[in-house]
Subunit: 332 residues, 4 copies
Amino acid sequence: MSRNHPREHGSELFIGLDVGGSKVLAAEIDADGHLVTTALRITPGRRVPVPLVEDALTEAVDEVAAGRPISGVGLAAAGFVDAAGERVMFAPHLPWRSDPTRSRLEARWGVPVAMDNDANCAARAELALGAAAGTQSALMITLGTGIGGGLIVDGKLRRGRNGMSGEFGHMQVVPDGHPCECGRAGCWEQYASGNALVRYARSRLDSPSYTQQTSLEEACGGLPEQLTGPMIAEAGRAGDRLAQRAFTVVGEWLGVGIANLVAAFDPEVVVVGGGVSAAGDLLLDPARAALRDSLVAASEREIPDVVPARFGPEAGVVGAAAMIRDAVAARG
Amino acid sequence: MSRNHPREHGSELFIGLDVGGSKVLAAEIDADGHLVTTALRITPGRRVPVPLVEDALTEAVDEVAAGRPISGVGLAAAGFVDAAGERVMFAPHLPWRSDPTRSRLEARWGVPVAMDNDANCAARAELALGAAAGTQSALMITLGTGIGGGLIVDGKLRRGRNGMSGEFGHMQVVPDGHPCECGRAGCWEQYASGNALVRYARSRLDSPSYTQQTSLEEACGGLPEQLTGPMIAEAGRAGDRLAQRAFTVVGEWLGVGIANLVAAFDPEVVVVGGGVSAAGDLLLDPARAALRDSLVAASEREIPDVVPARFGPEAGVVGAAAMIRDAVAARG
Amino acid sequence: MSRNHPREHGSELFIGLDVGGSKVLAAEIDADGHLVTTALRITPGRRVPVPLVEDALTEAVDEVAAGRPISGVGLAAAGFVDAAGERVMFAPHLPWRSDPTRSRLEARWGVPVAMDNDANCAARAELALGAAAGTQSALMITLGTGIGGGLIVDGKLRRGRNGMSGEFGHMQVVPDGHPCECGRAGCWEQYASGNALVRYARSRLDSPSYTQQTSLEEACGGLPEQLTGPMIAEAGRAGDRLAQRAFTVVGEWLGVGIANLVAAFDPEVVVVGGGVSAAGDLLLDPARAALRDSLVAASEREIPDVVPARFGPEAGVVGAAAMIRDAVAARG
Amino acid sequence: MSRNHPREHGSELFIGLDVGGSKVLAAEIDADGHLVTTALRITPGRRVPVPLVEDALTEAVDEVAAGRPISGVGLAAAGFVDAAGERVMFAPHLPWRSDPTRSRLEARWGVPVAMDNDANCAARAELALGAAAGTQSALMITLGTGIGGGLIVDGKLRRGRNGMSGEFGHMQVVPDGHPCECGRAGCWEQYASGNALVRYARSRLDSPSYTQQTSLEEACGGLPEQLTGPMIAEAGRAGDRLAQRAFTVVGEWLGVGIANLVAAFDPEVVVVGGGVSAAGDLLLDPARAALRDSLVAASEREIPDVVPARFGPEAGVVGAAAMIRDAVAARG
């Protein structure tokens, strides 16, 4: 790998590196957040020795650099990253355990490295270049199978004492409610996520109110367990009443939880990303209405906009690059 | 009023001024948070012309200063204060309406003035001199008839876009739950506040499980509507089973809501103040247990301590003085 | 008062007597349930000696009889009536306390007397001559400020061990929900009653979703506490969106509770009476939809019809007359 | 099979036949409810032709009769039985579908046959010979993986319009609560059943409040998914705090649901059977306390006793025999 050369104006190369559960994506990101060149690897898995995993990361970074000097690498890790951004404490699909990953990679590569978890990197992408750009305070909510989050206060991402802020998905919103994978019950992500969307639609397929009036029955071949979020999104856009009802119910829960967070943080904007957010206003309009209805003192304040994220699946790699760009700039 | 003289080391006079719904309290606060001298006035009311109200404030400040030069006045207002700390937007018991109170008082008095709402001033007191001193991140929760709050991130109180952050009491924790004075239902303060404590005890006075076994019946003279929080606290300390059950139920709800906030913020410490917190561990032990049980990834993080506030009813005036002290120091 | 003469075919005089909280209504009811002649008195109150109250009842009965022989009197009492139908155990607005009312009136008047509480008499009216006529099993649900009920199994009204069956309104449907006048919380009648309807509409008057779009604001003169159920019903029929939403929300809760009862009883029909039911399908259509959606094994059973009651405010007096007519017939 | 001979006093042979999901049990039951002789077969399954299944039933009955004349056979079927007791509408593990099972078996065997579903047969056993004997009104609640039930009013089991009364387990007690196998959410059986018990204990195994203080960790070999109800019952009896807490939580929910049913039915006694009830007062004491606390007008009525069932797994076969004994007696 090439060493870091004196930077010339406009020629800096910042690389984002997103290490997820199934794949490693490295990318050169330009100053506007576009992916210039990319390199992809399969995630080696959690039983592979750490050096081999880091070989894969090195290969991906080298492929993107293609011999050019690197100004810095930002690493987005699918796991818990400590408050200092130094260690991966735990990652379900990777071998790092309380591991000083950042400093070792920085030593190995000889370039500045910064590290954060993937949800926070997504928030960094929106803050630097996306839907939260220019704001002082924002909430980033990522809707996938569960809910991830990031917290921006006074213009900076805030990571908390343990690096674990933004776990919005596990606010309890229903006493004795749906059991959650976290071992408790009634967590917000059981009501406002991709899983919630699919569960709602599956449970209503046989309802006398919808039977023979919904295209979802056919979409899943009569097998409710085969029904997926994208099927529901497509049916919803085509006007299917059950699919739209599922987005309304999930969207209303989304808005109720956002109202809780806005009461606590009073941010300027709420950015909603993740796969489910692709449904757009089908999801966000009920969320906005529920936010207005559920927010304390709504008539005496400016209610934050609820906007879709700019970045989709590439949010992590873009935010990782933005993070190292900022870190290098801050060091002068 | 005396003008601000050149400061000599140790001779600075910072005055806190707490303008509440029923009284105005001015106090000289020393560097350790003790009240040195105080002056009290009755709050003139919301139909009195603004200049008359400000005359009362001026009198109270002058009485405390007693001719000495004033280095600054911090004003804690029982109402909404805008994000800039310049205007009182609305105060239920005072005539200010979208009023540039801070700058006008600064002009009138010729000394630096800073302003915030009373819940935030309580948080400032704990941050500067109390239970949150030395921490980078903390939540301040004030339990009175409802719940007030303050949010400390990276060592500073954060006030939000509208100056309305910290409205923790209106997180919805029960769908279709207790109606709240705010016009919605299921708000946290309906389950974890002084009002919740009293309501629980009242409703169980006639329960076959407690009748003739609780001293509360006698304490309220057989009239449940006469039962008060202090009666329940006293009975609880004396071992009354219904009173203790009331604190356990309210404490568990307190812990559940704290877990929601900790999941979102990941703070170092949670400070609980306000009148109900005088019950101490009778309230806080169930809250701590519920926090451990309800917090996501509890076993993989440092769980914040839940501690009683240092300051009681004088928290507002202490925090107001701390605020102006900091503001003057920051201006150099 | 005339004594009971040998009955001639078609000439029997059965009198219903409804002793409510504010008035006493006696009426001759014909075999089709029509009121032929009536007499009205003011309820004397609970501090008046029992004999004086019974004088008022006697006067009302005599006025209706007008010298004709009486075949029997049915008494509907606004209070708890014991399992045997002999005693009024407690009546909030009347002086009877564990009082053998039935036998004393029977002795005084020299005619057969039968007695039950008013909600059960309403159910008897519907069973004998109204919406439940000809059914073997039915639920009667009376929606007023709260919820009353009656239970018909195998063709007969069933009164339970204490004469207290049919207290459907106090099923708990929300854990830690709305406080109820009964001292507990989350009771069904807090969500599906006239009070629930009014509370919903009041709380939304200021919602940004409805303000300036609802006629209710004007109907109550801008004073939410002056808003009443009839105002909401009228606005709903005229198409007001907030009023209709209030009926939808209350109707859905009505249907959820009905589904609970149908799962337990499996009746043929559900009859909904009381003042709120005057709204008709505005209320009942959402209830029917929620019943279909909430009822276990809905697709494998005949779902009971949810129908409006035949009788309105006169249900008690009609049912009381039907009760004594049946009792006399049963004795041969 | 022997035909029905003229009955001699004391010599009648009534056979109960319980056709469950995994086995067929036939038994001669004496007048006191004891099993005199039994015969067991494996349930053939739902894809086997109906005649073959009925051959198995015939064999079991013949084995018990051993050549003696049979006075009648009572059949308890694990499925939906219609209101007339003539047809099995649906049985998940058997081939009957809207099948006139009773009359065909009666014709084949030449003896009187009566039929009901298994939960109702359990209630019949308790009514005839067990914990509800001598009562006019009772609720039978069977706690297994879910909740089954039976409804006794005025001395008789009441089966409802569709033969589906007693589905107490699917009352909705939590809005948006735990998803239920029935396709809805928040059903009572998700909170007060064997499944609820196991889920609670599993979810708390890793709680900081219990870890290293509970024997359940060892009982399940560190694998929460291996934890079973009997393990929890045993640990609870031995004083394990987590196991006892699980029974308390489930017992309280049991009591809340019983209170709902008692408010509606006002019965003399509530009988709790099924596997979970073997825990006895560990489960029933919290249920009794919650019933007292949750029941409307508890202080003005006789609260029904909550008692354990007399019969365990053999409740179905005993009740089936009692049913045919009564039916033959009624025919004279």
